[in-house]
Protein backbone atom coordinates (compact mmCIF):
# COMPACT_ATOMS: atom_id res chain seq x y z
CA UNK A 1 0.00 0.00 0.00
CA UNK A 2 1.31 3.43 -0.84
CA UNK A 3 0.41 4.94 2.54
CA UNK A 4 1.35 2.28 5.07
CA UNK A 5 3.08 4.69 7.46
CA UNK A 6 0.15 7.08 7.42
CA UNK A 7 -2.34 4.27 8.01
CA UNK A 8 -0.32 2.98 10.91
CA UNK A 9 -0.23 6.44 12.46
CA UNK A 10 -4.01 6.80 12.14
CA UNK A 11 -4.54 3.33 13.61
CA UNK A 12 -2.22 4.09 16.52
CA UNK A 13 -4.06 7.33 17.12
CA UNK A 14 -7.35 5.48 17.22
CA UNK A 15 -5.90 2.95 19.67
CA UNK A 16 -4.86 5.77 21.98
CA UNK A 17 -8.36 7.23 21.66
CA UNK A 18 -9.91 3.90 22.65
CA UNK A 19 -7.53 3.65 25.61
CA UNK A 20 -8.62 7.14 26.66
CA UNK A 21 -12.19 5.94 26.21
CA UNK A 22 -11.66 2.95 28.50
CA UNK A 23 -10.12 5.15 31.21
CA UNK A 24 -12.95 7.65 30.87
CA UNK A 25 -15.61 4.96 31.15
CA UNK A 26 -14.02 3.79 34.37
CA UNK A 27 -14.18 7.32 35.82
CA UNK A 28 -18.00 7.29 35.62
CA UNK A 29 -18.36 4.20 37.80
CA UNK A 30 -15.56 5.32 40.14
CA UNK A 31 -17.18 8.72 40.61
CA UNK A 32 -20.60 7.25 41.25
CA UNK A 33 -19.23 4.59 43.58
CA UNK A 34 -17.37 7.26 45.56
CA UNK A 35 -20.62 9.20 45.83
CA UNK A 36 -22.55 6.14 46.95
CA UNK A 37 -20.00 5.03 49.54
CA UNK A 38 -18.79 8.55 50.42
CA UNK A 39 -15.29 7.37 49.70
CA UNK A 40 -13.05 10.42 49.74
CA UNK A 41 -9.91 8.43 48.95
CA UNK A 42 -11.37 7.20 45.65
CA UNK A 43 -12.62 10.72 45.00
CA UNK A 44 -9.13 12.14 45.50
CA UNK A 45 -7.52 9.58 43.24
CA UNK A 46 -10.16 10.31 40.58
CA UNK A 47 -9.25 14.00 40.72
CA UNK A 48 -5.60 13.07 40.33
CA UNK A 49 -6.33 10.73 37.43
CA UNK A 50 -7.95 13.56 35.53
CA UNK A 51 -4.49 15.04 34.99
CA UNK A 52 -3.45 11.90 33.10
CA UNK A 53 -6.66 11.96 31.08
CA UNK A 54 -6.07 15.58 30.12
CA UNK A 55 -2.53 14.71 29.08
CA UNK A 56 -3.80 11.90 26.83
CA UNK A 57 -6.28 14.24 25.22
CA UNK A 58 -3.52 16.77 24.40
CA UNK A 59 -1.35 13.99 23.07
CA UNK A 60 -4.15 12.89 20.70
CA UNK A 61 -4.80 16.47 19.72
CA UNK A 62 -1.16 17.10 18.93
CA UNK A 63 -0.81 13.92 16.88
CA UNK A 64 -4.00 14.72 14.96
CA UNK A 65 -2.71 18.21 14.13
CA UNK A 66 0.57 16.75 12.99
CA UNK A 67 -1.19 14.26 10.70
CA UNK A 68 -3.34 17.01 9.23
CA UNK A 69 -0.36 19.28 8.70
CA UNK A 70 1.97 16.69 7.24
CA UNK A 71 -0.33 14.24 5.46
CA UNK A 72 -3.14 16.45 4.19
CA UNK A 73 -5.78 13.76 4.79
CA UNK A 74 -8.84 13.82 2.57
CA UNK A 75 -12.23 12.14 2.36
CA UNK A 76 -12.61 9.25 4.84
CA UNK A 77 -9.10 9.90 6.25
CA UNK A 78 -9.96 13.52 6.95
CA UNK A 79 -13.28 12.56 8.51
CA UNK A 80 -11.69 9.90 10.67
CA UNK A 81 -8.89 12.12 12.00
CA UNK A 82 -11.26 15.01 12.67
CA UNK A 83 -13.62 12.65 14.47
CA UNK A 84 -10.81 11.22 16.60
CA UNK A 85 -9.79 14.75 17.53
CA UNK A 86 -13.31 15.80 18.48
CA UNK A 87 -14.11 12.56 20.29
CA UNK A 88 -10.93 12.92 22.37
CA UNK A 89 -12.19 16.32 23.48
CA UNK A 90 -15.61 14.88 24.36
CA UNK A 91 -13.99 12.08 26.37
CA UNK A 92 -11.86 14.50 28.30
CA UNK A 93 -14.96 16.54 29.13
CA UNK A 94 -16.80 13.39 30.23
CA UNK A 95 -13.93 12.68 32.60
CA UNK A 96 -14.31 16.27 33.88
CA UNK A 97 -17.95 15.51 34.70
CA UNK A 98 -16.81 12.42 36.62
CA UNK A 99 -14.28 14.58 38.40
CA UNK A 100 -17.14 16.89 39.36
CA UNK A 101 -18.81 13.90 41.06
CA UNK A 102 -15.60 13.36 43.04
CA UNK A 103 -15.53 17.01 44.03
CA UNK A 104 -19.11 16.75 45.29
CA UNK A 105 -18.03 13.81 47.47
CA UNK A 106 -15.24 15.88 48.99
CA UNK A 107 -17.43 18.94 49.40
CA UNK A 108 -20.13 16.94 51.20
CA UNK A 109 -17.65 15.68 53.79
CA UNK A 110 -19.47 13.67 56.43
CA UNK A 111 -22.85 15.24 55.87
CA UNK A 112 -25.42 12.43 55.42
CA UNK A 113 -27.02 11.94 52.03
CA UNK A 114 -30.44 13.52 51.61
CA UNK A 115 -31.84 10.21 50.44
CA UNK A 116 -30.54 6.80 49.43
CA UNK A 117 -29.15 6.88 45.90
CA UNK A 118 -31.26 4.90 43.44
CA UNK A 119 -31.76 6.83 40.25
CA UNK A 120 -28.32 8.44 40.19
CA UNK A 121 -26.50 5.06 40.06
CA UNK A 122 -29.02 3.99 37.43
CA UNK A 123 -28.18 7.08 35.37
CA UNK A 124 -24.48 6.37 35.85
CA UNK A 125 -24.91 2.79 34.72
CA UNK A 126 -26.72 3.96 31.62
CA UNK A 127 -23.99 6.50 30.88
CA UNK A 128 -21.32 3.89 31.27
CA UNK A 129 -23.09 1.39 29.08
CA UNK A 130 -23.82 4.03 26.41
CA UNK A 131 -20.23 5.18 26.41
CA UNK A 132 -19.02 1.59 26.10
CA UNK A 133 -21.28 1.07 23.10
CA UNK A 134 -20.26 4.39 21.59
CA UNK A 135 -16.62 3.33 21.84
CA UNK A 136 -17.49 0.03 20.12
CA UNK A 137 -19.08 2.12 17.38
CA UNK A 138 -15.86 4.19 17.18
CA UNK A 139 -13.72 1.06 16.96
CA UNK A 140 -15.90 -0.49 14.26
CA UNK A 141 -16.78 2.76 12.49
CA UNK A 142 -20.38 1.64 12.84
CA UNK A 143 -22.88 4.43 12.23
CA UNK A 144 -25.93 2.27 12.99
CA UNK A 145 -24.64 1.34 16.40
CA UNK A 146 -23.77 4.99 17.02
CA UNK A 147 -27.32 5.99 16.18
CA UNK A 148 -28.75 3.32 18.49
CA UNK A 149 -26.54 4.59 21.32
CA UNK A 150 -27.70 8.16 20.83
CA UNK A 151 -31.31 7.08 21.03
CA UNK A 152 -30.68 5.88 24.59
CA UNK A 153 -29.87 9.41 25.75
CA UNK A 154 -33.61 9.92 26.12
CA UNK A 155 -33.65 7.47 29.06
CA UNK A 156 -30.97 9.47 30.84
CA UNK A 157 -32.87 12.69 30.29
CA UNK A 158 -36.04 11.15 31.70
CA UNK A 159 -34.20 9.95 34.81
CA UNK A 160 -32.70 13.41 35.25
CA UNK A 161 -36.10 15.04 35.14
CA UNK A 162 -37.42 12.53 37.62
CA UNK A 163 -34.53 13.22 40.01
CA UNK A 164 -35.05 16.93 39.59
CA UNK A 165 -38.72 16.69 40.51
CA UNK A 166 -38.04 14.44 43.46
CA UNK A 167 -35.34 16.66 44.91
CA UNK A 168 -37.59 19.68 44.50
CA UNK A 169 -40.23 18.04 46.68
CA UNK A 170 -37.61 17.64 49.46
CA UNK A 171 -36.65 21.30 49.18
CA UNK A 172 -40.28 22.43 49.17
CA UNK A 173 -41.03 20.41 52.26
CA UNK A 174 -37.99 21.57 54.17
CA UNK A 175 -35.87 24.40 52.89
CA UNK A 176 -32.95 23.36 55.13
CA UNK A 177 -32.34 20.46 52.73
CA UNK A 178 -31.46 22.80 49.89
CA UNK A 179 -27.68 22.33 50.01
CA UNK A 180 -27.89 18.58 50.20
CA UNK A 181 -30.50 18.50 47.44
CA UNK A 182 -28.38 20.72 45.23
CA UNK A 183 -25.36 18.46 45.73
CA UNK A 184 -27.35 15.51 44.40
CA UNK A 185 -28.91 17.58 41.64
CA UNK A 186 -25.46 18.71 40.60
CA UNK A 187 -24.34 15.08 40.50
CA UNK A 188 -27.33 14.14 38.36
CA UNK A 189 -26.73 17.13 36.12
CA UNK A 190 -23.16 16.00 35.48
CA UNK A 191 -24.41 12.56 34.48
CA UNK A 192 -27.02 14.12 32.22
CA UNK A 193 -24.25 16.08 30.50
CA UNK A 194 -22.28 12.87 30.04
CA UNK A 195 -25.26 11.45 28.13
CA UNK A 196 -25.21 14.48 25.84
CA UNK A 197 -21.49 14.13 25.25
CA UNK A 198 -21.89 10.47 24.37
CA UNK A 199 -24.48 11.63 21.82
CA UNK A 200 -21.85 13.99 20.42
CA UNK A 201 -19.47 11.05 20.10
CA UNK A 202 -22.19 9.16 18.21
CA UNK A 203 -22.58 12.11 15.84
CA UNK A 204 -18.82 12.07 15.14
CA UNK A 205 -18.93 8.33 14.38
CA UNK A 206 -21.78 8.90 11.94
CA UNK A 207 -19.81 11.68 10.27
CA UNK A 208 -16.66 9.58 10.01
CA UNK A 209 -18.56 6.62 8.60
CA UNK A 210 -20.99 8.36 6.26
CA UNK A 211 -19.83 11.93 5.73
CA UNK A 212 -23.15 13.23 7.02
CA UNK A 213 -23.16 15.91 9.71
CA UNK A 214 -26.27 15.34 11.77
CA UNK A 215 -27.44 16.68 15.06
CA UNK A 216 -29.15 13.94 17.02
CA UNK A 217 -31.57 14.30 19.93
CA UNK A 218 -32.17 18.01 19.33
CA UNK A 219 -35.55 17.82 21.06
CA UNK A 220 -34.20 16.11 24.16
CA UNK A 221 -31.54 18.75 24.37
CA UNK A 222 -33.93 21.64 24.29
CA UNK A 223 -36.19 20.05 26.88
CA UNK A 224 -33.39 19.56 29.34
CA UNK A 225 -31.39 22.71 28.85
Amino acid sequence: MPRDTFEKQVNDLKKTLLALGALTTQTISDGTEALKTRDRVTAQSLIKQDIEINRMRYDIEERAYRLIATQQPLASDLREIMSILLIAIELERIADHSKNLAEIVIRMGDEPLLKPLIDIPRMAQLCESMLGQALDAVARNDSELARAVCNRDEEIDQLYKQIFRELMTYVMEDSRTVTRALNLLFAAHNLERIGDRVTNIGERVIYAATGRLEELNVENHQMVE
Binding site: M1, P2, R3, F6, Q72, P73, L74, A75, S76, D77, L78, R79, T210, G211, R212, L213, E215, V218, H221, Q222
Partner: protein
Protein backbone atom coordinates in the same frame (compact mmCIF):
# COMPACT_ATOMS: atom_id res chain seq x y z
CA UNK B 1 -20.59 37.22 24.83
CA UNK B 2 -21.84 35.86 21.56
CA UNK B 3 -24.76 33.56 22.20
CA UNK B 4 -25.75 30.96 19.63
CA UNK B 5 -28.26 28.15 19.73
CA UNK B 6 -27.19 24.57 19.20
CA UNK B 7 -28.66 24.42 15.72
CA UNK B 8 -27.02 27.74 14.79
CA UNK B 9 -23.69 26.35 15.92
CA UNK B 10 -24.20 23.26 13.79
CA UNK B 11 -25.10 25.48 10.85
CA UNK B 12 -21.91 27.49 11.34
CA UNK B 13 -19.88 24.29 11.45
CA UNK B 14 -21.51 22.97 8.28
CA UNK B 15 -21.06 26.25 6.47
CA UNK B 16 -17.46 26.52 7.61
CA UNK B 17 -16.75 23.15 6.11
CA UNK B 18 -18.43 23.82 2.79
CA UNK B 19 -17.35 27.45 2.74
CA UNK B 20 -13.75 26.29 2.66
CA UNK B 21 -13.93 26.21 -1.08
CA UNK B 22 -14.14 29.85 -2.01
CA UNK B 23 -16.99 29.18 -4.34
CA UNK B 24 -20.38 27.64 -4.28
CA UNK B 25 -22.14 26.61 -7.43
CA UNK B 26 -25.85 27.03 -7.30
CA UNK B 27 -28.47 25.35 -9.42
CA UNK B 28 -29.17 28.53 -11.37
CA UNK B 29 -25.55 28.93 -12.55
CA UNK B 30 -25.46 29.11 -16.30
CA UNK B 31 -23.61 26.36 -18.16
CA UNK B 32 -20.76 27.89 -20.16
CA UNK B 33 -19.41 24.74 -21.79
CA UNK B 34 -21.11 21.41 -22.24
CA UNK B 35 -19.18 18.28 -23.04
CA UNK B 36 -21.29 15.42 -24.34
CA UNK B 37 -20.25 11.82 -24.96
CA UNK B 38 -16.80 12.96 -25.91
CA UNK B 39 -14.35 10.45 -27.37
CA UNK B 40 -10.90 11.52 -28.44
CA UNK B 41 -8.56 9.40 -30.54
CA UNK B 42 -4.86 9.62 -31.26
CA UNK B 43 -4.85 7.48 -34.44
CA UNK B 44 -6.58 4.27 -33.40
CA UNK B 45 -5.96 4.79 -29.70
CA UNK B 46 -8.93 6.09 -27.81
CA UNK B 47 -7.50 8.45 -25.18
CA UNK B 48 -10.84 9.75 -23.88
CA UNK B 49 -14.04 7.75 -23.70
CA UNK B 50 -17.55 9.00 -23.23
CA UNK B 51 -16.93 12.12 -21.15
CA UNK B 52 -20.03 14.17 -20.36
CA UNK B 53 -19.84 17.23 -18.13
CA UNK B 54 -21.29 20.72 -17.80
CA UNK B 55 -18.90 23.52 -16.92
CA UNK B 56 -20.63 26.40 -15.15
CA UNK B 57 -19.96 30.00 -16.10
CA UNK B 58 -17.69 32.21 -13.97
CA UNK B 59 -16.47 29.42 -11.78
CA UNK B 60 -13.42 27.25 -11.39
CA UNK B 61 -13.72 23.62 -12.38
CA UNK B 62 -10.82 21.34 -11.51
CA UNK B 63 -9.88 18.10 -13.26
CA UNK B 64 -7.82 15.66 -11.21
CA UNK B 65 -6.60 12.13 -11.87
CA UNK B 66 -3.44 10.09 -12.10
CA UNK B 67 -0.80 10.60 -14.78
CA UNK B 68 -1.80 9.48 -18.24
CA UNK B 69 -5.51 9.32 -17.53
CA UNK B 70 -6.28 11.92 -20.17
CA UNK B 71 -6.82 15.09 -18.10
CA UNK B 72 -4.67 17.30 -20.31
CA UNK B 73 -6.01 15.68 -23.46
CA UNK B 74 -9.53 16.43 -22.30
CA UNK B 75 -8.59 20.02 -21.47
CA UNK B 76 -7.09 20.46 -24.92
CA UNK B 77 -10.28 19.31 -26.59
CA UNK B 78 -11.96 22.32 -24.97
CA UNK B 79 -10.26 24.74 -27.37
CA UNK B 80 -9.40 22.32 -30.14
CA UNK B 81 -5.71 22.20 -29.31
CA UNK B 82 -5.90 18.52 -30.24
CA UNK B 83 -6.33 19.61 -33.87
CA UNK B 84 -2.70 20.69 -33.84
CA UNK B 85 -1.52 17.11 -33.38
CA UNK B 86 -1.78 14.92 -36.50
CA UNK B 87 -4.08 11.88 -36.74
CA UNK B 88 -6.50 12.90 -34.04
CA UNK B 89 -10.23 12.51 -34.11
CA UNK B 90 -13.10 13.68 -31.94
CA UNK B 91 -16.52 12.14 -31.45
CA UNK B 92 -19.28 13.73 -29.43
CA UNK B 93 -19.49 17.44 -28.85
CA UNK B 94 -18.07 20.34 -26.88
CA UNK B 95 -20.29 23.38 -26.87
CA UNK B 96 -19.50 26.93 -25.88
CA UNK B 97 -22.67 28.90 -25.11
CA UNK B 98 -24.61 26.19 -26.93
CA UNK B 99 -22.50 26.20 -30.09
CA UNK B 100 -20.50 23.08 -30.93
CA UNK B 101 -16.88 24.18 -31.30
CA UNK B 102 -16.25 21.16 -33.54
CA UNK B 103 -18.85 22.21 -36.13
CA UNK B 104 -17.41 22.50 -39.61
CA UNK B 105 -18.26 26.17 -40.02
CA UNK B 106 -16.68 27.21 -36.74
CA UNK B 107 -13.59 29.42 -36.94
CA UNK B 108 -10.99 27.63 -34.82
CA UNK B 109 -8.97 30.82 -34.34
CA UNK B 110 -12.02 32.50 -32.87
CA UNK B 111 -12.62 29.50 -30.62
CA UNK B 112 -9.10 29.81 -29.24
CA UNK B 113 -9.55 33.53 -28.75
CA UNK B 114 -12.66 32.92 -26.70
CA UNK B 115 -11.06 30.00 -24.87
CA UNK B 116 -7.52 30.87 -23.81
CA UNK B 117 -4.93 28.60 -22.30
CA UNK B 118 -2.13 28.76 -19.74
CA UNK B 119 0.38 25.92 -19.79
CA UNK B 120 2.39 23.93 -17.31
CA UNK B 121 5.69 25.68 -17.92
CA UNK B 122 5.57 29.45 -18.19
CA UNK B 123 6.18 30.18 -21.87
CA UNK B 124 6.56 33.90 -22.41
CA UNK B 125 7.59 34.98 -25.89
CA UNK B 126 11.22 36.09 -26.10
CA UNK B 127 9.99 39.67 -26.16
CA UNK B 128 9.51 42.49 -23.71
CA UNK B 129 6.94 42.26 -20.94
CA UNK B 130 4.84 44.85 -22.76
CA UNK B 131 5.04 43.05 -26.11
CA UNK B 132 4.10 39.74 -24.54
CA UNK B 133 0.81 41.16 -23.31
CA UNK B 134 0.30 43.37 -26.38
CA UNK B 135 0.80 40.48 -28.79
CA UNK B 136 -2.80 39.29 -28.97
CA UNK B 137 -4.52 42.70 -28.98
CA UNK B 138 -2.13 43.87 -31.73
CA UNK B 139 -3.15 40.93 -33.90
CA UNK B 140 -6.72 42.11 -33.39
CA UNK B 141 -5.73 45.56 -34.62
CA UNK B 142 -5.53 47.41 -31.34
CA UNK B 143 -2.83 50.07 -31.01
CA UNK B 144 -1.85 53.35 -29.41
CA UNK B 145 -3.35 54.46 -26.12
CA UNK B 146 -5.97 51.68 -26.16
CA UNK B 147 -3.25 49.07 -26.39
CA UNK B 148 -1.37 50.60 -23.45
CA UNK B 149 -4.53 50.54 -21.43
CA UNK B 150 -5.18 46.90 -22.24
CA UNK B 151 -1.60 45.97 -21.31
CA UNK B 152 -1.82 47.81 -17.99
CA UNK B 153 -5.23 46.42 -17.13
CA UNK B 154 -4.23 42.86 -18.04
CA UNK B 155 -1.09 43.08 -15.93
CA UNK B 156 -3.12 44.52 -13.07
CA UNK B 157 -5.70 41.74 -13.41
CA UNK B 158 -2.90 39.21 -13.39
CA UNK B 159 -1.57 40.76 -10.14
CA UNK B 160 1.74 41.55 -11.81
CA UNK B 161 1.52 45.27 -12.59
CA UNK B 162 3.14 46.57 -9.40
CA UNK B 163 6.10 44.28 -9.87
CA UNK B 164 6.78 45.14 -13.52
CA UNK B 165 5.43 48.65 -14.16
CA UNK B 166 8.94 50.14 -14.13
CA UNK B 167 10.44 47.56 -16.45
CA UNK B 168 7.81 46.96 -19.10
CA UNK B 169 10.43 46.93 -21.82
CA UNK B 170 12.63 44.33 -20.23
CA UNK B 171 12.47 40.79 -21.54
CA UNK B 172 9.65 38.66 -20.18
CA UNK B 173 12.18 35.85 -19.84
CA UNK B 174 14.06 37.84 -17.17
CA UNK B 175 11.19 37.47 -14.73
CA UNK B 176 11.01 34.76 -12.07
CA UNK B 177 9.04 31.59 -12.83
CA UNK B 178 6.00 32.73 -10.87
CA UNK B 179 6.08 36.16 -12.52
CA UNK B 180 6.47 34.55 -15.95
CA UNK B 181 3.39 32.45 -15.29
CA UNK B 182 1.40 35.51 -14.25
CA UNK B 183 2.69 37.22 -17.40
CA UNK B 184 1.27 34.31 -19.38
CA UNK B 185 -2.05 34.80 -17.59
CA UNK B 186 -1.91 38.52 -18.46
CA UNK B 187 -1.17 37.63 -22.08
CA UNK B 188 -4.12 35.25 -22.09
CA UNK B 189 -6.62 37.70 -20.62
CA UNK B 190 -5.43 40.59 -22.81
CA UNK B 191 -7.60 39.26 -25.66
CA UNK B 192 -10.59 39.03 -23.29
CA UNK B 193 -11.33 35.33 -23.53
CA UNK B 194 -14.46 33.92 -21.90
CA UNK B 195 -12.88 30.71 -20.74
CA UNK B 196 -9.33 30.14 -19.43
CA UNK B 197 -7.93 26.63 -19.52
CA UNK B 198 -5.01 26.01 -17.19
CA UNK B 199 -2.90 22.90 -17.57
CA UNK B 200 -0.96 22.39 -14.33
CA UNK B 201 -0.19 26.11 -14.11
CA UNK B 202 1.69 25.82 -10.81
CA UNK B 203 3.62 22.60 -11.20
CA UNK B 204 6.85 24.48 -12.00
CA UNK B 205 6.37 27.09 -9.27
CA UNK B 206 7.38 27.37 -5.63
CA UNK B 207 4.65 27.49 -2.93
CA UNK B 208 4.51 31.28 -2.67
CA UNK B 209 4.25 31.72 -6.45
CA UNK B 210 1.63 28.95 -6.40
CA UNK B 211 -0.48 30.77 -3.80
CA UNK B 212 -0.26 33.95 -5.88
CA UNK B 213 -1.57 32.14 -8.94
CA UNK B 214 -4.34 30.59 -6.84
CA UNK B 215 -5.36 33.99 -5.45
CA UNK B 216 -5.30 35.29 -8.99
CA UNK B 217 -7.57 32.47 -10.15
CA UNK B 218 -10.03 33.20 -7.37
CA UNK B 219 -10.16 36.85 -8.45
CA UNK B 220 -10.41 36.00 -12.14
CA UNK B 221 -13.31 33.69 -11.45
CA UNK B 222 -15.60 36.71 -11.15
CA UNK B 223 -15.02 37.47 -14.83
CA UNK B 224 -13.95 34.24 -16.45
CA UNK B 225 -14.83 30.59 -16.56
CA UNK B 226 -11.74 28.66 -15.53
CA UNK B 227 -10.94 25.00 -16.00
CA UNK B 228 -7.77 23.76 -14.34
CA UNK B 229 -5.97 20.45 -14.61
CA UNK B 230 -3.88 19.81 -11.53
CA UNK B 231 -1.94 17.05 -9.83
CA UNK B 232 -2.06 19.04 -6.63
CA UNK B 233 -5.26 17.89 -4.98
CA UNK B 234 -5.02 20.48 -2.25
CA UNK B 235 -4.95 23.09 -4.96
CA UNK B 236 -8.09 21.69 -6.55
CA UNK B 237 -9.69 21.66 -3.10
CA UNK B 238 -8.64 25.25 -2.42
CA UNK B 239 -9.71 26.95 -5.61
CA UNK B 240 -12.41 25.03 -7.38
CA UNK B 241 -16.16 24.84 -6.97
CA UNK B 242 -16.54 21.63 -8.93
CA UNK B 243 -14.06 18.80 -9.27
CA UNK B 244 -13.92 16.10 -11.91
CA UNK B 245 -12.02 12.91 -11.19
CA UNK B 246 -10.76 10.99 -14.21
CA UNK B 247 -9.28 7.55 -14.39
CA UNK B 248 -8.23 5.04 -17.03
CA UNK B 249 -10.56 2.24 -18.03
CA UNK B 250 -9.10 -1.22 -18.87
CA UNK B 251 -8.51 -0.08 -22.48
CA UNK B 252 -6.38 2.76 -21.08
CA UNK B 253 -8.93 5.33 -22.21
CA UNK B 254 -9.61 8.22 -19.87
CA UNK B 255 -13.09 8.20 -18.37
CA UNK B 256 -14.84 10.58 -16.03
CA UNK B 257 -15.42 8.69 -12.79
CA UNK B 258 -17.03 11.36 -10.66
CA UNK B 259 -17.91 15.00 -11.11
CA UNK B 260 -19.42 17.07 -8.33
CA UNK B 261 -19.03 19.83 -5.77
CA UNK B 262 -15.42 20.03 -4.60
CA UNK B 263 -16.40 19.86 -0.93
CA UNK B 264 -18.17 16.61 -1.53
CA UNK B 265 -15.39 15.09 -3.63
CA UNK B 266 -12.79 15.86 -0.97
CA UNK B 267 -14.78 15.02 2.15
CA UNK B 268 -17.23 12.38 1.06
CA UNK B 269 -16.83 11.16 -2.51
CA UNK B 270 -19.60 8.96 -3.87
CA UNK B 271 -17.36 6.48 -5.70
CA UNK B 272 -14.83 4.19 -4.09
CA UNK B 273 -12.44 4.78 -6.99
CA UNK B 274 -12.41 8.50 -6.18
CA UNK B 275 -11.93 7.81 -2.47
CA UNK B 276 -9.00 5.50 -3.21
CA UNK B 277 -7.35 8.06 -5.43
CA UNK B 278 -7.68 11.11 -3.22
CA UNK B 279 -6.68 9.26 -0.07
CA UNK B 280 -3.62 7.93 -1.88
CA UNK B 281 -4.55 4.25 -1.74
CA UNK B 282 -4.38 3.76 -5.40
CA UNK B 283 -1.78 2.30 -7.70
Amino acid sequence: MLETTQSERLGIFTRALSGNTPQETSADTKTKMRVQNLDFYYGNFRAIAGVTMDIPEKSITAIIGSSGCGKSTLLRTFNRMGDLVGHTRVRGSVTLDGENIYDRNVDVVLVRRRIGMVFQRPNPFPKSIFDNVAYGPRLLGVGGKALEQIVEQSLRDAALWDEVKDKLHQSGLALSGGQQQRLCVARTIAVKPEVILMDEPCSALDPIATYKIEELMIQLRNEYTIVIVTHNMQQAARVSGLTAFMNMNPDRAGVLVEFGPTTQIFTNPAKKETEDYITGRFG
